[in-house]
């Protein structure tokens, strides 16, 4: 990849109001450095897909500017599109065409002559484990294979920026993990990756930088470590050896008994788990095992989105 100092993606004051009056984006700013693994998170209808749609020319913007590697969407749309590969959320290839045809056609749309297009198609179909299926009709593929086909299609022109809209929605855990390692590999090779996802575990595992969008505004935009550092309390689930007494007291910690053998306890960040164990031990309660109740990022996400929602309600 050619080294570049321009941001992989630069969005300035981007707004979108649909014809029916729905305001999807309210002047968002985003900057994604080259080589980044960037997560764009948000609840349904927050504006993630609209943002991706505008960047990939599937949605027309109402106002604002979009640049990829310094190339402006308004001034050189073709130049900007060449930098980007898109893996959409829904299958959008011709179900009646063969796997190889679909990928080769995409290479052709990007101006690649048939010889190189054939080589690139083979390279990415092999990488995605689809080479043996190259002459199979796309409709015959399993859901996971279809998703890999879309990734191969997005990569065939070797874009510098790969955008994936919910790439693992509805796929099983095994395939999700395989997709993660594939995306990490692509990112390690220098391709900037932007991911939208509902699975916060996915964002936590993959992304180094996370932006959270809600009601068409960016409510958080920072690196993952800083974001997780904002999490003040973690909830642990403790499996107990024997039934806990009904009058169990864990002073200074919010806690609740889910059932006599399961205790949920909120541990503030500045306090130690050892204290909890000591308190329980004094009451002859032995802990067999413990685990995080939820994904850490998920808690933070819910807090952020709920807080902003309450602020918006209060403002109204």
């Amino acid at each position: 990849m050619m080294p570049t100092t321009n941001p992989a993606l630069e969005i300035r004051n981007l707004s979108k109001t649909y014809r029916d009056g729905t305001v999807a984006l309210q002047g968002i700013d985003l900057e994604v450095p080259p080589g980044e693994f960037f997560g764009l998170l948000g609840p349904n209808g927050a504006g993630k897909s609209t943002t991706i749609g505008i960047v990939t020319s599937l949605v027309t913007k109402s106002a604002g500017a979009v640049r990829a590697f310094g190339i402006d969407l308004d001034h050189d749309p073709a130049g900007m599109k060449r930098q980007i590969g898109l893996v959409p959320q829904e299958f959008n290839f011709n179900q009646f065409e063969q796997v190889q045809q679909i990928v080769m056609q995409q290479a052709g749309y990007y101006g690649m002559p048939r010889g190189p297009a054939r080589e690139q198609t083979e390279k990415y179909l092999r990488k995605m484990g689809l080479w043996e299926k190259r002459q199979t009709g796309a409709r015959m593929l399993s859901g996971g294979m279809k998703r890999r086909l879309m990734i191969a299609r997005a990569l065939v022109h070797e874009p510098q920026l790969l955008i994936l809209d919910e790439p693992t929605a509805g796929v099983d855990i095994e395939l999700r993990r395989a997709t993660w390692s594939l995306l990490e590999e692509i990112n390690d090779q220098g391709t900037t990756v932007i991911l939208t996802t509902h699975y916060l575990e996915e964002a936590e595992a993959l992304c180094r930088h996370i932006a959270i969008i809600d009601h068409g505004r960016i409510v958080e935009n920072t690196d993952k470590k800083s974001l997780l550092a904002k999490l003040n309390v973690e909830t642990f689930v403790l499996d107990l050896e024997t039934a806990a007494p009904e009058a169990l007291l864990v002073d200074g910690y919010a806690h609740r008994l889910v059932d006599p053998l399961t205790l949920e306890i909120d541990v503030p960040k500045e306090r130690s788990l050892n204290e909890v164990f000591a308190i329980l031990s004094r009451q002859h309660v032995n802990v067999l095992s413990l685990r995080n109740k939820a994904n850490r990022l998920e808690e933070l996400f819910v807090n952020l989105v709920e807080k902003k929602g309450q602020n918006a309600d209060a403002a109204e």
């Binding site: 990849m1 020319s57 599937l58 898109l86 959409p88 959008n92 056609q105 995409q106 101006g111 022109h157």
Partner: protein, 272 residues
Amino acid sequence: MLPNEPSGSSWRANLIGLQTIVIKEVTRLLRIWPQTILPPVITTTLYFIIFGKVIGSRVGTMGGVPYMQFIVPGLVMMSVINNSYSNVVSSFFSSKFQRNVEELLVSPLPNSIILLGYMSGGIARALLVGCLVLLVSMLFMQTTTLYSIPITLAVAFLTAALFSIGGFLNAMLARKFDDIAIIPTFVLTPLTYLGGVFYSITLLPEPWQTISRCNPIVYMVSAFRYGILKHQLSSDMIDIEIGLAFAAIGLFIVGLFGLALWMLKQGIGLRT
């Protein structure tokens, strides 16, 4: 050279893009030939048998040629119109419906290339079906010579181009499969039947003759009939002067091509 840079100049990249769409479209229409090629040939053969042989034998001659021979250009033109239109409207609407049109929209291809690519599929099918229908008609005609092959080909090509753009516009505006049948059923079919396929508009009383001259299909059928039968047909049976016919077809093409490009730029029916 990076793979994500266009190979050579951008016009070359665009040419490769155009070639890709053309191959895709032609492959599609050949793959589903029982739906795209066979039915129009069978339908037109039935027209030849019923209108030409059975009814035509009672009509006698028209403009100095047997009625069977008179209707051949119109029937070929009818195939060209229907097939160019239906090929593009169904192919492009299917792309919209399955959302694989997004493959083109996210690519760096200019709108004009996308439009030309789909038009080429419509033109290819129209010319293929037109040639087959003409070959079948040779079995029924008493003569196998055409007055002018270049004029005949040019009219067929331009008509196919025009109705391919029409099909493209229809597909852009269509929201459901029913919408792609409305124009062919309620506009194209009546205009074709009233466009001088089975008769010369000079036989119509006024004001119907003048009204018929507002029908663009009259110009195409007349020009095509000129290309095929000029040497045998009496001149009063040529509805429209050939130069005027070409000018009218050309104007329609320029107008609709411009409209389609404008709609693509606005993203009408394609982008939200």
